[in-house]
Subunit: 502 residues, 2 copies
Amino acid sequence: MTTTEAKQLLLDTHAEIKHIVTATAVMHWDENAEPYPPEQGAAARGAAQGYLYEKAFGLSISPQIKEALDLLTADPSGLDEYERDMVKIWKKSYDKNFKVPPAEIAALESVVSQAMQAWMKAKQSNDFDTMLPWYDKIFEFQHKMADYIGYNKHPYDALLDKFEEGMTVELCDAFFAQLREELVPLLAAVQASGRQPDDSFLRQACDTATQAALNHEVAEWMGLDFNRLQMGTTEHPFMLVIGRDDIRMTTHYYEDDLMSALFSTLHEGGHALYELNLPQALSPYGLDEAASTAFHESQSRTFENVFGRSRQLMPHLLEKLKKHFPQQFADVTSEQLYAAVNIAQPSLIRVEADELTYCLHIMLRYEMEKDIMERKLTAADLPRVWNEKMQAYFGITPPDDKSGCLQDTHWSSGLFGYFPSYALGNAFSAQLVAKMRESVDVDDCLARGDFAPLTAWLAQHVHVHGCRLTPSELIVAATGEPLNAKYYVDYLKQKFIAVYGL
Amino acid sequence: MTTTEAKQLLLDTHAEIKHIVTATAVMHWDENAEPYPPEQGAAARGAAQGYLYEKAFGLSISPQIKEALDLLTADPSGLDEYERDMVKIWKKSYDKNFKVPPAEIAALESVVSQAMQAWMKAKQSNDFDTMLPWYDKIFEFQHKMADYIGYNKHPYDALLDKFEEGMTVELCDAFFAQLREELVPLLAAVQASGRQPDDSFLRQACDTATQAALNHEVAEWMGLDFNRLQMGTTEHPFMLVIGRDDIRMTTHYYEDDLMSALFSTLHEGGHALYELNLPQALSPYGLDEAASTAFHESQSRTFENVFGRSRQLMPHLLEKLKKHFPQQFADVTSEQLYAAVNIAQPSLIRVEADELTYCLHIMLRYEMEKDIMERKLTAADLPRVWNEKMQAYFGITPPDDKSGCLQDTHWSSGLFGYFPSYALGNAFSAQLVAKMRESVDVDDCLARGDFAPLTAWLAQHVHVHGCRLTPSELIVAATGEPLNAKYYVDYLKQKFIAVYGL
């Protein structure tokens, strides 16, 4: 194999894998966006997805690929910088993954496809027991995966690293300790204030078709291009990449809680903008991907919280609400809306949690996943332990499992080690916007309802790099320093001290 | 390769191909059912579909498959009857297809995926010119396909045979001549009668959401199982098989023409019942497929026309219409509805055409496809020739191309040689129901609104065989004689003489 042949093999194989990934992504959309496909067909669809995952995975770790990677790693002289990055990243993922047999991946995907169907029903009917065998199977897969991938100190490290390169239990323990130290007293002060803004005007019945019109308008306002993006509805909102020009995102419309869909549109829209701004020119090399899960979350949280819940943006949000729901919002002021969307209080549901308590929800899940990986917890323990922790951290006990351990899609979809990224994403978000303020008048943009300069900054400092930089390299490249939880803590303190007049 | 190995290779390869076909079917659904996916992503999705088609096709004609087929054809002694049929059918299709290079199939599929997007826009904006380059490309592909496949007398024979084994221009010319001889005088007599039933009550505004509820009810009434079937909406209704337990069908709701969706549900529902009743036990051998396109069409036409437009069923249809649209149907009688849904007259749109004129629409398309394959016609001639023929056969000229040559999805989706199957399907339908009447009291079942015995007869005499019999074998097995256009002509004569009091 010559250098040229090796390079061409990588480019051609990447194109093949991309075709397969496009197909499996469409199947994922079909399975998870409304209208849901016929239930009895789930097993066959899952088997087909498993087959294709196995094929794609097999292509990426074939003996020819190993030969090409070894050759080009040893002598990268004939490669340009993009090809070098392609080789570097592929080699890293090869080394990480080549121990996992393709059949194992396929088996997990097949189980997951059925578990997702089961979870949707179990959550609806609040029936944890039907999920028990699925969680058992999926947790056992996680133990196997950790063993296949390998780790130095903790089996959970192997899974954390899948989503956030270099992340470990040691770093996470320290990160969450730092947040806990600052945020628990802040939440205590908020609760001690005895003040709680009125948000009853957000709980009025709002027709879901009108909500859909509002949310499409908000998506366009954000700069999302419907020639390259589709919005759908689902149980649990998500963003999905089908191709560089085909991004799908979903929301869930609740008749009596229109802000849920609105902030989920801002959130998923932030994810979508990252994908829509990744440079097309990086695609042939497979470098047109986000830096990490946490970086992806930093973009969604920036739009949902830092921008979407800012005092400056409120007049614009209110104007749109008044346009679509004139009666419901007739007497609401911008300041009332600002206070109502920034209430901090203990709550049951992570995706509905406020900015201040959000990380405590993540901490709970982090601790449980860690204990599962240490075999201190089994699937059967989930409801009890979940509820104990809820009581300990939030002072409340979920009335049922659908508001408790059944609420998230992650475990049924095989996502393990993913949750901590949400918290890291919030920290990245605050740090990025702090840096952005040095060159862009963020408050003025928000006050004018103009997202363009804000998105442009993110595109130029974050999106432009694709996955060429690791998350730790990217945060330094974009902000000039490593991850620093201080920006996040300062941001939260400043906001909630003001909202609650502490 | 031993006989056992050869057999196992075929079974395993069939399972692989089925996985890929499941994925491409889901992609087809995503592309063609509402909500339509982002337009800019169409090229990448088309390329992915092309890649997968090529893979599946490549698997089905690999050198190992050829070896296995040759071995088992030479010595089928170790095979049971299902395995023998699998080998026989695979060999036939191998011999027919192995001359078409996989890359050619992939190129066509990629073009088709983009042409479909273009067609949806061209039809909407009545812009034939934008379709011209796509039709040019697709027609050239048909010439190439005919040459690759080969034929004895006429290049069109190669394409006709793809959908209806053994069908030729010679047989079609004779078939259409027979219909023309009997139906043209009948239509003339209908027109000469000067009588035309009132159907104005069918043109009232009917909310599409209520129509959707009505159509779901009709689908359930037909015996369609929503655990195995999904109904969607689209520009041009279709039925699609994703898996044995995953059938998708669509309709198009028109605000001012509710019968369009209603009869399309009966039509696509007839297709779906065929697929839902194919024996699961035939699946491992790939024998769980319809006998032919025309046989598929015979099932849809039976439900849409022979049952759906029968005098006996009318009280039940009317009852459902009154339930969902009480005001619109308050004063309508069953006899008025029967007359209104059996109007015979010249019309522009094939899918909206009545039973009597339908075959003339097919004849027009058959003649044009034949002329295209003789290179007497090019894509640029389509609007002119279409309109000339409409004037000659129907006495009307389409006011625009979207009511003319742009109306059908077939040419933009690469379906060539398919149209004649619709006419043959009608003929099969009449012949099957004539036979059914010997053992089932069809009129009594319809009068009771009970589809179960009728579907059971079709399941036992048609569906049960899958594709183990050729269409000409199946019509003999089910009715005791070869295709006989007489049943169809008699059926139409009897109905329209009665409706028009001739």
